[in-house]
């Protein structure tokens, strides 16, 4: 089974691009967008195009730039909503219309120029730019050079802070760059005291704020992997027992019962009792698919309804699938990201024991977080079966004709939220959209979608931690983003955590639309009379 993502990057052959450029006078709240038609000839990058505007369009446009090759980090901005360095945004990768805005989460000085002061305030001291090098793999380090030195990778551009769903002035989160800098200090202290660095990381604005959504890593023009560093730093804090009290309680639940709710492991499949058919125990009867349900879809009452719906859809389509029942534990994806590596290993061991008892061809899961660790990390522990998200499975079933999805929901306008662990981590963006389209719904995209999605705020164990302050939650910002689309009927999700996060956020924000699991939309399509 292969659901391939189709990259639809079109190389444009037109001779001009229309740039819509954010304009703002200092201290004024009024923002406008000026449009300029920039000839492509002679302009290769977005920065070239903006320089062209300065020279030939409007000399009053202010820009930040210095090196022109992604080394100084001054020309960060948002191009069509994505945070990037303008000097390496190739115009050929964009359509005819390109919107340029200043970096998010930093104060605007004027136009697309931001004040980097707050960025530097968050950096831990010292902040050296030289480090001992990794040498070229084939290099023989000569005796007369003890060690090569090289410049640190971080170019302090603020692109990661702009891409981060949490690092806004309201939360005070120090942001990915500062955390990566702290990670570097722990690796190579250069005069700093690791105790001080760890103490700083443990503060409420520190390392626990990260949702591990991966936006920083994907936006970083210097290839820095903030998220793995953040997880390593969390591990160091967990080892010292410096953990948020709420998270500590949840971790104890995992250790005792294998789920975040602290419910009895035996009650995991209780949601199946509402079904009028029996789901086989894959440990007893051979099945084609093991359904790895995950904690939220097993225990949360709202998500249980979605699980029951999916079970009916698959049952009616004649799919051979079973469960691990009480043998299933939390997959441990977010436990690992919360820094509890030992507990993660324990959960893997327990799940692998159950899977080894079962006879099956492949796994599907309703939980993108579980998908991620099962697909990408469990193979390290012996899992050798393919792992799919249920949306991939349903697309496969529809293309084989096993499941007939009638386009009965014409006239229904929906938007779809890509979960980070599906879209950013596993590039699964096409399957859910194909299912939505198959129902006949009109899909309207939010500005941030696909692999440039916006985090709901729950990932990386954040859902189990205390909230820092009264800052607006990412899930509420996301609902407001959906409200800019005009009237929509449904805000469609495909992740159990999203269902809980956004159902709450819709109430807080007071939006007119309903949050539905994609399986709910499919059920409605199946039930509607054609």
């Amino acid at each position: 089974m292969a659901v391939t993502e189709e990259l639809t990057v079109q190389k444009h052959e037109t001779t001009t691009r229309r740039l819509r450029v954010y304009r703002q006078e200092s201290g004024e709240s009024e923002v406008r967008f000026d449009e300029f038609d920039v000839p492509v000839d002679g302009c290769k990058t977005v920065l070239d195009a903006l320089r062209w505007i300065q020279l030939h369009g409007d000399p009053s446009l202010s820009l930040r730039h210095s090196c022109f090759h992604a080394s100084c980090g001054t020309c960060g901005l948002r191009v069509n909503g994505e945070s990037a360095l303008a000097c390496v945004c190739d115009l050929a990768d964009y359509g005819d219309d390109i919107q340029v805005e200043p970096l998010a989460n930093l104060p605007v000085r004027t136009d697309v120029v931001v004040d980097m002061g707050p960025f530097y305030e968050h950096l831990p001291e010292p902040h050296p730019i030289i480090r001992v090098s990794e040498v070229l793999p084939e290099a023989t380090v000569p005796q007369q050079l003890d060690s090569y030195v090289r410049l640190e990778d971080c170019i302090e551009c603020g692109v990661c802070v702009s891409a981060c769903p949490i690092a806004n002035p309201e939360t005070g989160f120090v942001g990915p760059a500062a955390l990566a800098a702290a990670g570097r200090l722990l690796e190579e202290p250069r005069g700093s005291d690791p105790e001080d660095v760890l103490g700083w990381l443990a503060t409420p604005q520190g390392v626990w704020q990260c949702t591990t959504c991966m936006a920083c890593v994907q936006a970083c023009p210097a290839g820095i992997e903030h998220v793995p560093m953040i997880i390593d730093m969390r591990r160091a804090l967990v080892e010292r027992g410096e953990v948020d009290p709420l998270l500590q309680q949840t971790l104890q639940n995992f250790a005792a019962q294998g789920n975040s709710y602290g419910r009895s492991a035996r009650s995991r499949a209780r949601w199946t009792r509402a079904l009028d058919f029996r789901i086989p125990d894959a440990r007893i009867e051979p099945v084609e698919y093991v359904w790895f349900v995950g904690d939220y879809a097993s225990f949360d009452e709202r998500v249980q309804l979605a699980s029951q719906r999916l079970a009916r859809i698959l049952h009616d389509a004649g799919v051979s699938f079973g469960l691990l029942f009480e043998g299933e534990r939390s997959s441990g994806n977010d436990v690992r990201r919360a820094g509890e590596e030992g507990l993660f290993q324990l959960l893997v061991e327990q799940n692998m024991a159950a899977l080894n008892q079962a006879r099956f061809e492949a796994i599907f899961t309703t939980d993108p977080h579980s998908l991620n660790t099962l697909r990408n990390e469990y193979p390290d522990y012996g899992l050798d079966k393919p792992v799919y998200h249920y949306t991939e499975l349903l697309v496969e079933l529809t293309s084989k004709g096993t499941l007939a999805l009638p386009p009965t929901l014409t006239g229904t306008r929906v938007t779809y939220h890509d979960p980070c662990y599906l879209a950013r981590y596993n590039e699964i963006t096409d399957a859910p959209r194909r299912l939505i389209e198959a129902t006949g719904c009109e899909l309207v995209e939010m500005p941030r979608h696909g692999t440039n999605t916006f985090c709901c705020g729950a990932g990386g164990g954040r859902i189990w931690m205390s909230e820092a302050n009264g800052a607006e939650r990412p899930s509420e910002q996301r609902i407001r983003e959906a409200q800019t689309l005009g009237a929509i009927d449904y805000f469609v999700v495909s992740c159990p955590k999203d269902l809980t996060m956004y159902s709450d956020a819709v109430k807080t924000v007071g939006a007119e639309f309903e949050v539905v699991e994609l399986s709910g939309l499919i059920e409605r399509a199946l039930l509607a009379t054609p």
Binding site: G27, S66, S71, V113, E121, V135
Partner: protein
């Protein structure tokens, strides 16, 4: 720290030269204001390949520049600890004719005070395995690598910490000129959109290839040729040392490691307008062709960026076509002496590596004009880290 009655110097241009000058003059007790029309280092300074010159490139044809470079190289190591990759550089002979350059090169380095070490091809390959295996000889010299923006930022940071006023996004609209006397400038704050006058005892034009434009506001000429070069950045670090071609200065004769990038430079020609710099495709292609003679992997390494930077070379129009003929040295013009205009100085030419030396020379001229007897102190003053610039601006 300067007081109200101290002479006030207005520096126009927020590149390396302006930053170093602001630092020098502030240390000598003068009141300094610096204006830059865009971001600091947004002109030529930020765009160079990040080479801390040993001076070896100029050892044969431009001895004056070679000596300046090695002297400043050693001073910068002292006053900017932590700013350089000090992995040295290699000059590599690839073709037979390159070997003709070997002895004059070693002699020139020796005469300029640049230490050299001859390496056999196998010694050079042990240091830098990606070198062209056909190399005939190599000479090791004390080149280094810097961050083209963050090194000058340390001068700005220290100057600001010591009381200099640094105003980025502040553009000179007019110089205030009356009766052959420059007394300040009318500037526009691009952030607020407001115009204001800044009065000064001396205005210093430190605008590099834009020097002509600023000088023209005072009705004077400076013999500056904006001489751009194309540079190519590749995604991947192909060497740890700076790799130079051992022959007469030419296109694509250097590969500079910079973080995870490799920068190949450069070409050279002359233009009228330093604002409107093309990046000719044939120049980029030449970087690949010539760069891959030094390190064959240049040809197959992922493209990151190509750009042009305009050097401010000293030379009259008609004197040079490619800019290669022009010296890389620097010069201060006191327009009282050259044009009979008082209160106005242009400092230009030079290189990223010689920013401090240029500032010292210019500050000496300023002090002499104002009859101030304060020595230069920048040779031994360790600079604040670049991050201190943002802290000073926030304060």
């Amino acid at each position: 720290m300067a007081t109200q009655n101290d002479p006030h110097i207005l520096i126009v241009g927020g590149g390396g030269t302006g930053g170093a000058l602001a630092h020098d003059l502030t240390l000598r007790g003068l009141k300094v204001t610096l204006v830059e029309r865009g971001e600091l280092t947004s002109g030529t300074t930020g765009r160079h390949h990040g080479l801390l010159h040993s001076g070896a490139r100029y050892a044969v044809g431009d001895r004056e520049s070679a000596v300046e470079c090695i002297e400043e190289n050693m001073i910068l190591r002292r006053i900017c600890p932590g700013s350089f990759e000090l992995n040295d550089g290699l000059f590599v002979a690839i073709e037979d004719e390159d070997m003709d350059y070997l002895e004059p090169f070693i002699d020139g380095c020796e005469a300029s005070g640049i230490p050299t070490e001859r390496l056999t091809p196998s010694q050079a390959l042990a240091l830098e395995p990606n070198l062209n295996p056909q190399l005939k000889a190599a000479v090791r010299i004390p080149d280094g690598t810097m961050d083209a923006m963050r090194l000058p930022l340390r001068f700005f940071a220290t100057a600001a910490h010591n009381g200099a006023e640094i105003h980025s996004y502040t553009e000179v609209e007019e110089l205030l000129v009356h009766d052959h006397l420059v007394s300040g400038a009318l500037v526009r704050d691009r952030v607020t959109g407001k115009d204001r006058e800044i009065h000064a005892d001396v205005v210093i034009n430190a605008t590099g290839p834009w020097s002509e434009k600023i000088a023209a506001m005072a009705g004077v000429d400076v013999p500056i040729r904006p001489s751009p070069g194309v540079l190519l950045a590749l995604h991947g670090r192909l060497c740890n040392m700076v790799i130079n071609r051992l022959h007469k200065s030419g296109d694509g004769d250097i590969v500079v490691p910079q973080r995870g990038l490799s920068v190949v430079g450069t070409s050279s020609w002359t233009v009228e307008d330093p604002d409107d710099l093309p990046v000719p495709a044939d120049h980029v292609e030449r970087m690949y062709t010539e760069g891959s003679k030094l390190i064959p992997a240049v040809r197959c390494t992922e493209f990151r960026a190509a750009w042009s930077a305009a050097r401010p070379l000293i030379g009259s129009r008609g004197e040079a076509d490619t800019g290669r003929e022009l010296s890389r040295t620097f010069k201060t013009f006191d327009h009282k002496e050259t044009d009979g205009v008082e209160g106005f100085i242009t400092i230009t030419g030079g290189k990223g590596t010689t920013l401090r030396g240029m500032a010292e020379l210019c500050a000496n001229v300023v002090c002499e004009k104002l009859d101030i007897d304060e020595p230069c102190r920048t040779r031994d003053t360790v600079l604040l880290p670049h991050t201190a610039y943002y802290a000073a601006m926030a304060a």
